[in-house]
C-alpha cells in the first residue's frame, strides 16, 4: 500500500517537479522575476482540484471518453506551450558566451518576455492540473477507509518529499551551470518532454479507439521495465514506453519535428549572419 502510494505520487510529482524546476531556472538565467511560479502553482492546484472533483462527470462525458479527451487536450496544450518556449529560446542557442553572460541584464529584443512567461505559466499550470488531479483522486479514495488512510498518506508524503527534494537539488545543479550549457540542456529537455507527452496523447486516443492500435514496433521491457524504478523515472523524464505502437512513434516525431526545425533554422540564420 505504502509503496504503491509512493510510486504513484512520485511518478506524478517527479514530472511536475522537473517541468517547474527547469522553467524556474530558465526564469532565473534570463533575469525574470520568479513571481509567475506562484500564479502557475495556484492555477495548477485549483485546476487539479476541479478535475478531481468532477472526475466522474468528465469520465462519463462524450460517451465515456471524456477523461481520455481531457488528458489528450491537456497534454496537447502543454506540448504547444513547450513549442512556444522553445521558439523563444532557440535564438539564444547559438549566441556567443559573451552575449549570453549579459542576457540577464539586457532586454534582448528577440525575447518577448511576457509571452515566454505566459507560456511557462501554462506549461506548469496545466502539467500540475493533470498530475495533481490523479493524486487527489488516489488519496481521496482512501478518505472512507481510515485503516488504509495513514499508509496512503505516509506513502504520498514520502513520494512528494522525494520528488520535491529531487526537484530542489536539480534546481541548484542547473542554477550553477553556465547559461550557455543550460540553454542547450533546456532545449534538449523541451524536445524530450514534448516527444514524451505526444506519445501520451496517442496512447489516450488509442485507448478510446479514435486511433487504430497496432502491434508494438519494439519491446524494450527486458532492457528497462516500465514498472521498475528506472522505468518510472524515464517515464517521468521522457515519457518512456517500452513497447510503443507505430502511431505513438508518429506522434512523437510530430511533436519533436517543429522543435528540431526551429533549432536548425536558428543555426542556419546565425551561420548566414556570420558569413
Amino acid at each position: 500500500m505504502m509503496v504503491d502510494a509512493i510510486l504513484l505520487v512520485l511518478r506524478e510529482v517527479l514530472e511536475a517537479a522537473l517541468i517547474i524546476t527547469i522553467l524556474m531556472v530558465m526564469s532565473r538565467k534570463l533575469g525574470f522575476s520568479l513571481h509567475w511560479i506562484l500564479v502557475a502553482l495556484v492555477m495548477g492546484t485549483l485546476s487539479s482540484w476541479a478535475l478531481a472533483h468532477y472526475a466522474y462527470t468528465i469520465a462519463d462525458a462524450l460517451g465515456g471518453t471524456g477523461q481520455e479527451w481531457t488528458n489528450a487536450l491537456l497534454y496537447f496544450m502543454v506540448v504547444l506551450a513547450f513549442i512556444v518556449i522553445a521558439a523563444f529560446i532557440a535564438p539564444l542557442l547559438f549566441n556567443t558566451p559573451h552575449q549570453l553572460r549579459h542576457l540577464a541584464r539586457e532586454d534582448t529584443p528577440r525575447l518577448n518576455r511576457q509571452l515566454l512567461v505566459a507560456a511557462a505559466i501554462f506549461a506548469v499550470g496545466l502539467s500540475l492540473a493533470r498530475e495533481v488531479a490523479e493524486i487527489w483522486i488516489y488519496l481521496g479514495g482512501f478518505a472512507q477507509q481510515p485503516d488504509k488512510l495513514e499508509s496512503a498518506l505516509t506513502g504520498g508524503a514520502i513520494g512528494l518529499g522525494i520528488g520535491a527534494s529531487l526537484g530542489a537539488i536539480t534546481y541548484y545543479l542547473l542554477v550553477f551551470i553556465s547559461v550557455r550549457r543550460f540553454i542547450y540542456l533546456l532545449f534538449s529537455f523541451l524536445i524530450l518532454l514534448s516527444g514524451g507527452l505526444a506519445t501520451q496523447i496517442a496512447k489516450q486516443l488509442l485507448q478510446i479507439g479514435v486511433l487504430d492500435s497496432a502491434a508494438p514496433l519494439w519491446d524494450t521491457s527486458r532492457l528497462v521495465n516500465e514498472h521498475s524504478w528506472l522505468g518510472e523515472l524515464l517515464y517521468a523524464l521522457i515519457g518512456y514506453d517500452s513497447s510503443p505502437s507505430a502511431i505513438q512513434v508518429i506522434f512523437y516525431w510530430l511533436a519533436v519535428t517543429p522543435l528540431i526545425v526551429i533549432g536548425i533554422w536558428q543555426w542556419r540564420r546565425r551561420k548566414l549572419a556570420h558569413a
Binding site: D147, S151, T154, I162
Partner: protein, 470 residues
C-alpha cells in the same frame, strides 16, 4: 544565489529528506520481508500446536461422514476494522483428501492441492496466504490460511510506526536548520548592520574581535579599502581647501584690478564692463562649486544638531534685504517656530539658494511668500514666488548639475550657473528630507516645499546654543 540561508535550508532539507525517505522505503521493504517471515513462522507454530492436539484422533475423525466445524472464539468485536488481528483459518485433510475438520470461515471443499509449502488461494471473496503441511505420524495434512490483506496491513501498521515519525520530522528538521543557520549567519548580519549604521564620514576600521574566521578576510579587505578611502578623502579635502584659497585670491585680485580699471579709464569701453561681468560670473561659479563640494555627503563632516529653522529663515531674509529692495519685491513670512535636526550652515545654504532663486526669477514689484509649518512630526519649509515658474516636465531635471532652464534667460542680472538647485537637493538628501516643486497660488510662479522630520522633544531639551543663535 539570492540568499545563502534559503539556499542552504532548501538544499540541506532536500538532501536530508531524500536520504531519510530512501532509507524509510528501504527499511519498509526490508521490514515487510521480515514480517512475512515472521507470519510464516507463526503458521509453522500453529502446525506444531495442531500436531499436538489432532493426530491422536485421526481414526475417529476419518470415520465421521461430515467434517467437524471448529468455532473459533471471536478475536475482535464485530465491526472492528483495526489491523491488529489477522484472520487465521485451518482445514485438516486426510491422506485420501477427505476433509476431517475445518474452522468456521473455511469452505467444505479442500482449498488447495496437498502439496507441502506456501500457496495463494482465493475463497470467501478474499486472497489467502495458505501453508500446506503434512501432519505427524502420517495423519493427513493441515491447511492453514491467513487473509493476505489483513496480514499485509498488520505488518504495514507495525512498520508505519517507525516510518511515520520520519515524515513528521522533516518539517521540524527544516525549521531547526533555518533557526541554526540564522544563528550561524548572525555575524554576517552584524557586519552588514555595522556598515549600514555608519555615517558616510565614519571611516574607522572594523573591529575584528570575536569575528568568525570566515569573515576575517572580508573585514581585512574592507579595512584596507576604508584606509585607502580615508586617505583619498583627506587628499581631496586638502585639494578643495587649497583650490578655494588659490582660486579665490586671484579672482578677488582680478575684481579689484577691474574696478580700478573702470575708475581709470574715461570713457569706459563696453568690453571693460563685459570683463567685470565675466569676473563676477567666474567668482560666483567658483563659490557655488566649492559649496557643492562642501555639502557633499562624503565630505560632510559636521554633526547634526537641533536647528531653529524659523530663526534661520528670518536671518536669511534679513540678509537678502538689499536684493529684495533692489527689485522692489514684497516678502511675506509666516509660520510656527520649527526645529529640525541638521547642520545649520547647510540649511542656511539651502534657504539662501531657494530665496535667491525666488528673488532672481521674480519680476520687479513681485511677491515672495516664505512659510515654516509644523505638521505633526514633520516640518515644512515653503518658498513661493510669482515668477515664470518651472514647467512640470522640467521639475526633475532642474536638480541636475549645470542644468539651466531655457538657458537661464532671465533679466535678473544675477549670474547663474545651474548649480543652485543641485546644492539644494544635496542638502535635502543629506537631511533625509523631501523636496517638491509645484505651481504657486499666484497666477504664475513656483512653490518649493521641503519636508523635514521635526526634532524630537528629547533632542530639543538640550539644543545646541550656537545653532539656536543662528
Amino acid at each position: 544565489m539570492k540568499s545563502i540561508r534559503v539556499f542552504l535550508v532548501i538544499l540541506l532539507v532536500a538532501i536530508i529528506t531524500l536520504a531519510n525517505f530512501a532509507a524509510a522505503v528501504r527499511g519498509y521493504l526490508g521490514s515487510m520481508d521480515e514480517a512475512e517471515k515472521l507470519f510464516n513462522q507463526r503458521l509453522l507454530q500453529q502446525v506444531d500446536l495442531l500436531n499436538y492436539l489432532l493426530p491422536g484422533r485421526y481414526q475417529e475423525f476419518s470415520q465421521n461422514s461430515a467434517p467437524l466445524v471448529y468455532n473459533a472464539p471471536a478475536k475482535a468485536a464485530p465491526g472492528d476494522t483495526s489491523t491488529r488481528v489477522a484472520d487465521l483459518q485451518f482445514q485438516w485433510v486426510s491422506n485420501e483428501g477427505k476433509l476431517l475438520m475445518r474452522s468456521t470461515a473455511m469452505p467444505d471443499e479442500v482449498i488447495s492441492d496437498l502439496r507441502s509449502g506456501y500457496q495463494f488461494v482465493n475463497f470467501n471473496h478474499y486472497r489467502w496466504h495458505v501453508l500446506v503441511a503434512p501432519a505427524v505420524n502420517n495423519s493427513g495434512w493441515y491447511l492453514l490460511a491467513e487473509r493476505d490483506d489483513q496480514r499485509y496491513r498488520l505488518a504495514e501498521s507495525m512498520i508505519l510506526q517507525a516510518v511515520t515519525p520520519m515524515v513528521i520530522a522533516i518539517p521540524i528538521i527544516g525549521f531547526v536548520i533555518w533557526w541554526v543557520l540564522g544563528i550561524g549567519v548572525r555575524p554576517v548580519a552584524r557586519l552588514t548592520e555595522e556598515f549600514h549604521a555608519r555615517e558616510a564620514t565614519d571611516l574607522r576600521a572594523i573591529d575584528q574581535q570575536d569575528m568568525p574566521a570566515e569573515l576575517i578576510p572580508l573585514a581585512q579587505s574592507a579595512n584596507e579599502l576604508l584606509r585607502r578611502l580615508g586617505a583619498s578623502f583627506m587628499r581631496e579635502q586638502r585639494f578643495a581647501g587649497d583650490a578655494a584659497h588659490e582660486l579665490r585670491t586671484p579672482i578677488a585680485a582680478l575684481n579689484i584690478h577691474c574696478e580700478n580699471l573702470l575708475h581709470e579709464l574715461q570713457p569706459v569701453p563696453e568690453s571693460a564692463y563685459k570683463l567685470q561681468q565675466g569676473i563676477k560670473r567666474m567668482s560666483y561659479l567658483v563659490e557655488q562649486i566649492l559649496l557643492l563640494n562642501k555639502t557633499s555627503p562624503d565630505h560632510f563632516m559636521s554633526q547634526f544638531q537641533p536647528v531653529n529653522l524659523t530663526a534661520l529663515v528670518k536671518q536669511v531674509i534679513v540678509g537678502a534685504s538689499d536684493a529684495l529692495s533692489h527689485k522692489d519685491l514684497q516678502i511675506e513670512f509666516d509660520g510656527d517656530t520649527c526645529w529640525v535636526n541638521g547642520d545649520a550652515a547647510a540649511l542656511e545654504t539651502l534657504i539662501n539658494n531657494l530665496l535667491g532663486n525666488a528673488i532672481k526669477y521674480s519680476s520687479a514689484n513681485g511677491q515672495i511668500v516664505v512659510h515654516t509649518w509644523r505638521r505633526g512630526d514633520q516640518v515644512v519649509l515653503e518658498v513661493m514666488d510669482n515668477g515664470p515658474g518651472i514647467p512640470a516636465d522640467q521639475r526633475e531635471r532642474v536638480f541636475d548639475r549645470f542644468y539651466r532652464l531655457h538657458g537661464d534667460r532671465h533679466n535678473s542680472g544675477t549670474p547663474g550657473c545651474g548649480l543652485g538647485l543641485s546644492i539644494v537637493k544635496q542638502v535635502v538628501d543629506l537631511h533625509q528630507a523631501r523636496i517638491n516643486l509645484t505651481e504657486s497660488s499666484f497666477p504664475t510662479g513656483l512653490l518649493v516645499q521641503v519636508t523635514f522630520s521635526a526634532c524630537s522633544p528629547q533632542s530639543l531639551s538640550a539644543p545646541n546654543e550656537g545653532a539656536k543663535e543662528k
